[in-house]
Amino acid sequence: MILMQTKALFIDAYRELNAKKLFWITMALNLVAVIIFASLGITQKGVTFWHWQFESMFFNTGLISQELFYKLQFTSWGAGFWLSWVTTILALVSTAGIIPDLISGGTIEPVLSKPIGRIRLFLTKYLTGLLFVALQILVFSFGCFVVLGIRGGAWEFGLFLALPIVLAFFSFLFSFCALVGLVTRSTIASLLLTMLFWSMIFVVNLGDSIMLQQREGWKLQLQDRQGVIEPQIRFAETRLEQWRDEGRPIPGEGDEPLPEDASDVLEVVNPTLRQSRERVEEAEEAVETWTTWSARVFALKTILPKTQETIALLERNLISDEELSRLMGTGNDDFSADEDMPAMADPRATKAVAEAMRERSILWILGTSFLFEGVLLALCCWIFARRDF
């Protein structure tokens, strides 16, 4: 009977989706997105779109292969923008009403009077909500798979990883949406609060990126500044020897006092050393400050679903470290930092941030996110099982 009831609930969900125009509108939009994806191409000179040619220094077959080009397009705007923004927003609009509709007066009574446990009923309904996104992702991924196969010359089954990854991403938001829907019984409230929650995660992600960029930028600045000090000390020591040989009075030795603003004689001998040491101290303090803040934001992120990192898992799987390193390293190898350049603007920091993000473990990304979802769903089940309708 369990299978029969589950099947009935899924068929009902399909009929509900089928009745909603938005489902088909989203499906049509997905096909348009696939057509746009297919219209993109790469040549020796640059990028093409339909019959238009755009010359590019970075995107041409001299630098990246057709396969990598399409994989990059799929991970960046396909999954990173289209599936995780446009399709997700449309899916939330379409599915936000599933739980409020289920528990509305006159609908829930006949369902609860059937031989089905409340927790199973709730979780099955929750899964039917994910069905909407699953169908959309599947259509989009299949379309892109065919395009990559025909135009890129590679039948990359890894593209279908978008299904579990984007579905997991959506489920983190949908669990929050379901909880709000269950508590407020309102579709509008659950949709708006989910959008607010999503915005909050976005802000935390942005904060995390900024903190990381600052931390990595200041670490690099510290290295650069420490690198400057060594020759300055050597220079000061040489000059000090010269002074001694010339019989000049040495500050801090004998009756000659050390100036108050100098910490040792080397700074008197080479005044730029003091300035450099101050700059190193400044960088050390900044590294400490930004490491602390980065750790705090990281801790906050740990308890929240990792939407950004979850989507980035697709890129991790489709694009190898070597390929990414080649792409990001282009033009940075002979980079020399300007002394006055802000830490945030250092392109080496951007690369370091990307590497730091990529080093975050899958267990941390998915484990803690699913834990978050699990806690929310457990709370939903507890409320749903105890509520009188």
Binding site: M1, M4, Q5, K7, A8, L9, I11, D12, R15, E16, N18, A19, S104, G105, G106, T107, I108, E109, P110, V111, L112, S113, K114, P115, I116, G117, R386, D388, F389
Partner: protein, 322 residues
């Protein structure tokens, strides 16, 4: 008679303040049509929802079809039509019936057969493939009734089944109910339409403010309140009433609100003749004479009025009035 519903001391308190059920004892026998009546807020729907696990009782002892109340498994043998149902408008009636059939564990072939059969029974065969969104209230009610019968239930619980249904439809529904009874099923009805209950119910219970005040067959409930009634053209004076009372010693008069009426608790017409003689000799014109049994409506009104808060709508708040 085997009990299909047998509950004792059912209590439901909402948010520790509103006492919706205050110790309901109820017994419904197998194969009977049972009517539960009561004013708005009496707790009728709450009681039904407790039986169907839609609401969790604060306290409940008893059985439903032999299983403890709250057992989900037994619900596969129960059909239910809620009062203000809101079935999905995107489904056709056939799809709706199949869906709820599957939810009750009815096999695929049986679902298809039953859906066609029941839509014919409730007169909706021609609308089988039309979406519920295009139905009138009465049509939705008919489909709702069919939905409640999809699993061949032993017990059918119907909350206001004729709500919004036209007189022809009501007659059809009554016939369906009687057919269910003939098939040996038990029907539990919640309704405000007392005249309809009176036509089909074997037994009734009257519920007021979370308690069952009376329960039994209509004959049992009217016992002691039936008798011969004499109705005059004008009000009968107190002196005449006293004279008649003396002449008919041994026959108890029944209280009535009509000043021109005298009712005697006897089924013997001869025993009442002296009263007619007294009235006639006093020049009173007699308009009507005959055996009279109180209607269900009168019983209901009496039961409600006997309760201090009976006429007030809503459940009772703890330690106070609603």
């Amino acid at each position: 008679m085997e009990a299909v519903i047998d509950v004792q001391g059912v209590e439901k308190m909402y948010r520790r303040r509103v006492h919706a059920l205050r110790g309901v004892d109820l017994r419904v026998g197998s194969g009977e049509i049972f009517g539960l009546l009561g004013p708005n807020g009496a707790g009728k729907s709450t009681l039904v929802k407790v039986l169907l696990t839609v609401i969790r009782a604060t306290k409940c002892q008893g059985t439903l079809l032999g299983s403890k109340v709250g057992d989900k498994g037994v619900l596969s043998q129960v059909g239910y039509l809620p009062e203000h149902h809101n079935f999905p408008k995107y489904l056709t009636s056939k799809q709706l019936l199949r869906h709820f059939g599957a939810m009750s564990g009815v096999g695929r072939a049986e679902r298809n057969r039953k859906a066609d059969e029941l839509l014919e029974v409730v007169g909706m065969k021609d609308w089988a493939n039309a979406k519920l969104g295009s139905y009138s209230k009465g049509m939705r009610q008919r489909v709702g009734l069919a939905q409640a019968l999809m699993n061949d239930p032993k017990l059918v619980i119907l909350d206001e089944p004729t709500d919004g249904v036209d007189p022809i439809g009501r007659k059809d529904i009554r016939e369906v109910l009687l057919r269910l009874k003939d098939e040996g099923r038990t029907v539990f009805l919640n309704s405000h339409l007392l005249s309809e209950l009176e036509m089909v119910c074997d037994r009734v219970a009257i519920m007021v403010h979370g308690l069952v005040r009376q329960q039994g067959t209509i004959e049992e409930l009217t016992d002691g309140q039936s008798g011969f009634a004499v109705r005059a053209l004008e009000p009968i004076s107190d002196e005449l009433r006293e004279t008649i009372s003396k002449r008919l010693s041994g026959i108890d008069p029944i209280k009535t609100s009509d000043p021109s009426e005298l009712v005697f608790a006897t089924s013997d017409a001869d025993a009442v003749q002296p009263a007619i003689d007294v009235l006639r000799s006093s020049g009173v014109t007699i308009r009507q004479f005959g055996f009279r049994r109180p209607s269900l409506e009168e019983l209901f009104v009496k039961a409600v009025q006997e309760h201090p808060d009976g006429a007030r709508p809503g459940a009772q708040r703890k330690g106070g009035r609603s």
